[in-house]
Amino acid sequence: MSLRDLVRLVRRTGRVAEPAPPRPGTTCPVPGTHGSVALRHVDAGSCNGCEIEIGAAFGPAYDVERYGVRQVASPRHADGVLVTGVVTRNMAAPLRRTVEATPRPHVVVAVGDCACDGGIFRAAPGVVGAVEDVVDVDLKVPGCPPTPAQIVAALRQVTGR
């Protein structure tokens, strides 16, 4: 094997991520942060479909962490809150408290049709409404569920990478 082939093999090994699409504009930045954002995920009452897609977005194939997005455990450590699912009665107050506990300035990203406008569960019993009925939403990612590529593209608008 020639030296060039060897170097190409080394560079290729372990890379399974899809090549990065072109950089979008920063349409929803968090003031005071540049190029990275820490997000706390809250499941306000989802069916878990959006969670699986978000899991794929953070996985090795779509790898949104390349663009500076990070998931953190405590809202006190976060720059924003990632909300999935329609807001149920029991989760309305905890969602409000989580957003309140996140230091300002922060963003709230609603992922999925249920989080954006109530989706198919809009009229179900035990449902308070969409996320924008409970807290202020800065960015919506529509889809049922949105594909990992759509989630990555939306989060890139927050970090600008």
Binding site: V42, S74, P75, R76, A93, P94, L95, R97, T98, E100, A101, R104
Partner: protein
């Protein structure tokens, strides 16, 4: 008539006035008896200061006994302890005026308090054996009455009072025996004659052991310490403050009296005995203090620790003097005297603070306190300063005293004597262990009682105590800080008290020991620290003002309000690692009971946990002795069976024995 003569007579007069004031009705009694007790304390302290400044005086009390008159002529050492006793007694009386109510404010209690102070002063001022023992017994009786004050309200007070009475009279008996042997050798009862007894004789050794045992019983050293953690919490607060801060010092004063004045220069094992007892007391005392949750019991065990350190210092002084290192020996004596003053200052503050907490919440157990810093700010501040002093952190009295002790241990080490060169490093290690455990103990005590959230409704309902108690606590805290910042002010008193030449004030209130070439200037350290912290704090505060403060409504509890005061550390859980590591020495008894649901045995309904930390010395050493005494008593009862023939036989046999002995 000199100032000292006047002082001694004024003390007796003020005691008489205090006894009369105790007979007044309740309202007037509390104020007037308190004021009389404060004046009595001030008079005792003033007499001591007059003696330390170079005055002399005497009070000679003739009795109907076929003995020489009682002689009270304080020496430098006695005067030093008198100042301590007087100041502590006055501060205790100030606190008592505010906190005493019900049984603690009765005529008996106030009268006994005045007699207690007079008894302690008599012990310090005594210049002959009979005067000393008179003061000792007066102090013992008065303090027993004071310990038993609340016997109607609390069940544990009676047994504590009984144990205390037995132990204090045991100490009286041992001291009496020791002094009798010495007086028989010397032919007279005055201390001047006793100091001429040859220390290397066998009788002097026996007397030394008896006297040291007697004084260490009063001081509360292991294994004779069991009464301390029982009696001090049983007594009313101001009394337990005076007992812990002043009375146990008289035991140490007795040891110093024997070692420095009566029998200086004894054989090598005298100092070793003191060091062994001292180190054992210090480590065992602080170990128990660090694992117990009850504030007052923990403070009493800490007293055992400090007494152990004082006795260690005296023992090291004796060892070093015997092997020729007189400079370090002097520093060791100075360390013992500094420890006495420092302990008096911070222990008074701590006990009065614990008493204020008890007064405000009705609870002594730190497992049920918390959040008192917001509700009782003044008490919290003075208790905090006392805790800093007890943990021997810089700019407090405890730091100066432990510094002096460490200096004497470290600088006495380069000596040819094999015994000294083995004993001193081991002592340094154990004293360092003690210091570490003390820090843990007092962080636990202050942090758990005063910080965080209240752990019970009683703690949540606490309110700051009245002006008298707050004043007393603040006075103690000021003393702790004053001695810590300017120890050089004590240097002339140390010189006069111990007959030392190697203690000098230096710089701005600093103290130095020129014999071993060390000095300490806490005032300079304090000023440097204050300047540095101001230089650091000002820019930080100015920078912080640029971002607006946001009120946090709720601590983060995963979206819910799930924080419960029961989730906090308790004193027992904080000390659990220590209990586990030292479980061979502490022998905790633990009971765990898990109650499942009757219909679903896999689900737990209740868990009951109980931990008992009884004193190992009491369960392993005292109870067998008491059981043996019980069995002997029961066997002896068979001699008293009611038969008059047997009683006549006893009388006849006794007569025969006496005649035979007289004939021999």
């Amino acid at each position: 008539m000199s100032a000292v003569d006047l002082g001694l007579r004024v003390q007796v007069l003020l005691t008489a006035v205090a006894l009369l004031a105790a007979l007044l009705p309740v309202r007037a009694r509390r104020l007037l008896s308190g004021v009389c007790a404060v004046l009595l304390g001030a008079a005792i302290a003033a007499t001591g200061v007059a003696v330390l400044a170079g005055g002399t005086g005497r009070l000679s009390v003739a009795t109907a006994l076929p003995l020489d008159p009682l002689l009270f002529a304080p020496s430098g050492l006695g005067a030093y302890v008198m100042v301590l006793v007087g100041v502590v007694g006055a501060i205790g009386a100030i606190a008592g005026t505010g906190s005493a109510h019900g049984a603690s404010s009765s005529s008996t209690t106030w009268a006994a308090y005045a007699l207690f102070l007079l008894g302690m002063s008599a012990v310090c001022a005594a210049d002959d054996v009979v005067g000393f023992l008179f003061g000792w017994e007066l102090m013992a009786l008065a303090s027993t009455v004071l310990v038993l004050t609340e016997h109607r309200e609390r069940a544990d007070v009676r047994s504590a009072g009984l144990l205390y009475a037995v132990m204090t009279h045991l100490s009286f008996l041992l001291v009496l025996l020791g002094f009798s042997i010495l007086a028989a050798q010397a032919g007279s009862t005055s201390f001047a004659a006793l100091s001429r007894v040859d220390p290397s004789s066998g009788a002097a050794s026996v007397a030394y052991v008896l006297l040291v045992l007697g004084f260490l019983t009063k001081a509360g050293a292991v294994p004779l310490h069991v009464w301390l953690p029982r009696a001090h919490p049983a007594a009313p607060t101001h009394v337990s403050a005076v007992m812990s801060a002043a009375m146990v010092k008289l035991g140490v004063y007795g040891v110093l009296l024997v070692v420095l004045r009566l029998l200086p220069g004894g054989p090598w094992w005298w100092g070793l005995l003191l060091v062994l007892v001292g180190v054992a007391s210090a480590t065992y005392g602080i170990l128990r203090a660090s694992v117990l949750a009850d504030l007052k019991v923990s403070l009493a065990c800490s007293t055992t620790e400090n007494v152990g350190l004082m006795v260690t210092a005296v023992g090291v002084a004796v060892l070093l003097r015997g092997s020729g290192e007189s400079a370090s020996a002097q520093v060791a004596v100075a360390a013992c005297l500094l420890l006495m003053v420092a302990h008096a200052a911070f222990k008074t503050t701590l006990f009065l603070g614990a008493g204020a907490v008890l007064h405000a919440t009705g609870v002594r157990d730190a497992d049920e306190l918390g959040g008192l810093a917001a509700r009782m700010p003044v008490t919290s501040a003075s208790f905090g300063v006392g805790a800093l002093g007890a943990a021997a952190l810089p700019v407090t009295a405890g730091f100066v005293a432990e510094w002096a002790l460490f200096q004497s241990l470290v600088h006495g080490g380069d000596v040819d004597d094999r015994l000294v060169s083995v004993v001193l490093p081991v002592t340094v290690a154990l004293v360092a262990l003690t210091a570490g455990l003390a820090l843990l103990t007092f962080v636990k005590m202050w942090g758990l009682a005063f910080l965080a959230r209240p752990r019970s409704a009683a703690a949540a309902a606490a309110r700051e105590v009245g002006g008298w108690e707050r004043t007393a606590g603040l006075l103690g805290a000021c003393a702790v800080v004053a001695i810590g910042v300017a120890p050089g002010l004590l240097a002339p008193a140390l010189r006069a008290a111990g007959g030392l030449t190697g203690v000098e004030p230096v710089g701005v209130g600093g103290i130095s020991f020129p014999g071993i070439g060390v000095s300490l200037q806490p005032a300079v350290l304090a000023i440097v620290a204050v300047v540095l912290s101001v230089l650091l704090a000002v820019p930080v505060v100015l920078a912080a003002r640029r971002t607006p403060r946001r009120r946090v409504e709720l601590p983060w509890g995963c979206g819910g309000v799930r924080l419960d005061p029961r989730m906090q550390y308790t004193a027992t859980s904080y000390a659990e690692p220590l209990t586990r590591v030292f479980d061979d020495a502490l022998r905790p008894r633990r009971e765990l009971e898990v109650v499942p649901y009757a219909t679903a045995p896999q689900l737990v309904s209740e868990v009951h946990f109980r931990q008992d930390l009884d004193d190992v010395v009491e369960t392993r050493a005292y109870r067998p002795v008491v059981r043996l005494a019980d069995r002997i008593g029961a066997a002896a009862r068979s001699l008293q069976d009611g038969s008059i023939h047997r009683y006549l036989l006893y009388a006849f046999a006794a007569l025969v024995v006496v005649l035979v002995v007289v004939a021999l």
